[in-house]
Assembly symmetry: C2
Homo-oligomer: 345 residues x 2
């Protein structure tokens, strides 16, 4: 039934009893109301070795950094400010204390950059791989919180940064890993000096960085606030644009039209896609782990939002009857599908 | 260097930058101040299959229930009220949807009993065993929060319930598992009908319940409030009384004297200890997972605290120079050692 089926099945029976539970499962964060001037935002992620990361090519410091960023990204996606995290680790015997300190160095670096405190956690042993569970806590004034459900007809659909680069970075790492393993197999049993492996990443550093060291877009949240724009809906793109757009449309009860030629793409992403014989548009629509922000703004904010650097208007919100369309340069239309792909799940 | 060494080493460099971070690592919960009438309490636990639980004898529903209880227990230990939890699961292919629903049934039952909402989480796959990460969020008025650090000379040391039973329950389960595995080995290759395994638990149900279905002591927190008693220090006993007493003494800068004959023991715990040739006092002092509350109250509360059912005064707080002493019935004294043992770490 797949992960989403299971989550749907489990969460459909969940009812909220506490008056302080303003929003439960179903958005980037839970929203709690403890009676203060701000609402408390909570989000959590559990990352498992071999499923969400491969330590053959992910340095521990990068892993720590990314583990924090994916959670902070969820807080920003509510238009909130992250304040604290808790960090739980399960560590098997093959990790040294230095390894764990390296992981923590990345966790701390991410926290420092976003002024977030580590206030708790749990360190335990694991019989198998590494598990990392991070919970982020943040706050937002009630009037500032942006849900997935607020998109309105004629709203503009915007994304920050560019799309598909993290996915291409992963393809690149996987390819070099396969080359390395083939070399190792070829030299097995031969009495030759081991040839040091030199992965070919030249000119591809940006793609690797997008995969290994994503940045949560606080700058975009701040730029929107400075411009006096309050998005009508927002979420972060962890699963691929296509899948996330479907979430916003479903929860807002609307449709959308997105223009292929408006999709923000980096040059390296396009070059790599060609090298891999992949459609760069498919990578941009369905590649995961971009951690960019997807949001909608009222049509009247068009001029203001267009002036924000690194934000692009890619389409607009329609009546629900019009479905979810990707418009090609020749005018042909494709129905979007949520074939999102994200190892971080 | 052990788990505590690692945690100490990691957490010693952690500084708090946010004004909302009132208390970070080092107590049962973090305490956050978001400007409302109450403080927000946060605690988290990561439980790994094979380390913290053995699915050969732990039913999934019990596991779900216990996973929640251990977190709620930390909120009560701050004299707070739990309100929400997030639940993250990493599940390998050998689990069916029904298995996960069974686990969730236990999670939900625990939540219902304590009026706690499930507001978020994450369900992912795992290459190996089951991982469960729960974060609990609660609240307390600032004047009600009880830390580990407030114990004062002449304060009375109190515990709820009885001690060592969960540890004996685990010994019992481990013994029956060993018997079962021996039977299986004995019958391997023999062309006989498999004999159904019938573990011998008769008369030991209480010990099993203490191990498999611990209850967070909300009732004690409520009874203390009704009696008008505010403990000077408090924590939950997850690691063994001895280890937890040392935490309170260290953080409060005091010593303690605890009387062996005052330790609350259940009859079944004593019988099982004898059967296993273990000292019941060692089990009570060092056995883990009791999830009872350990707290101190001013001497002037003696009469009031003595009237609370299921609470026992076991000793008192001294000057730090007097160390941490366990007093035997013959008057001899032993220095307490933190040889706490807890698979939930």
């Amino acid at each position: 039934m797949g992960e989403f089926g299971l989550i749907d099945r489990i969460s459909e029976n969940i009812q909220l009893e506490q008056t302080s539970s303003e929003k439960g499962i179903g958005d980037d964060c839970a929203v709690l109301n403890y009676g203060g001037p701000t609402r408390t935002l909570v989000t959590t992620d559990l990352l498992m070795e071999g499923v969400h990361f491969d330590l053959q090519y992910v340095p521990l410091k990068h892993l720590g950094y990314k583990s924090v960023m994916v959670n902070l990204s969820d807080i920003y996606a509510m238009n909130g400010t992250p304040r604290q995290i808790t960090v739980s680790l399960a560590v098997s015997k093959r990790f040294t204390v230095e390894d764990i300190e390296e992981l923590y160095a990345g966790i701390r670096l991410a926290c420092e950059q976003h002024h977030v405190d580590i206030v708790g956690g749990d360190t335990t042993s694991s019989l198998t791989g590494l598990a990392i569970s991070i919970t982020a806590i943040g706050e937002a004034r009630p009037e500032d919180i942006v849900y997935r459900s607020g998109a309105k007809e004629t709203d503009l659909i915007c994304v920050s940064g560019n799309l598909g680069a993290a996915y291409m970075g992963l393809q690149l790492l996987e390819r070099e890993k396969a080359v390395f393993e083939q070399q190792r197999r070829d030299s097995a049993g031969k009495n030759t000096q081991a040839i040091p492996f030199e992965p070919d990443f030249s000119g591809r550093e940006y793609l690797l960085e997008r995969q290994l060291k994503p940045e949560a877009r606080r700058d975009i949240v701040e730029a929107l606030a400075s411009a006096g724009i309050r998005p009508t809906s927002m979420m972060d793109i962890s699963d691929g644009l296509s899948s996330e757009l479907m979430h916003i449309c479903k929860q807002s009860g609307v449709g959308c039209r997105v223009y292929e030629e408006r999709l923000p793409l980096d040059y390296q992403t396009a070059v790599m896609a060609e090298e891999f014989n992949l459609s760069v548009i498919t990578c941009a629509m369905n590649g995961g782990e971009d951690y960019e922000l997807l949001f909608t703004v009222p049509l009247t904010d068009h001029d203001r939002v267009s002036q924000i650097p690194d934000v692009k208007v890619i389409g607009y919100i329609t009546k629900p009857e019009l479905g979810h369309a990707l418009i090609c340069p020749d005018g042909s239309e494709f129905e979007l599908k949520a074939q999102g792909w994200n190892p971080l799940q």
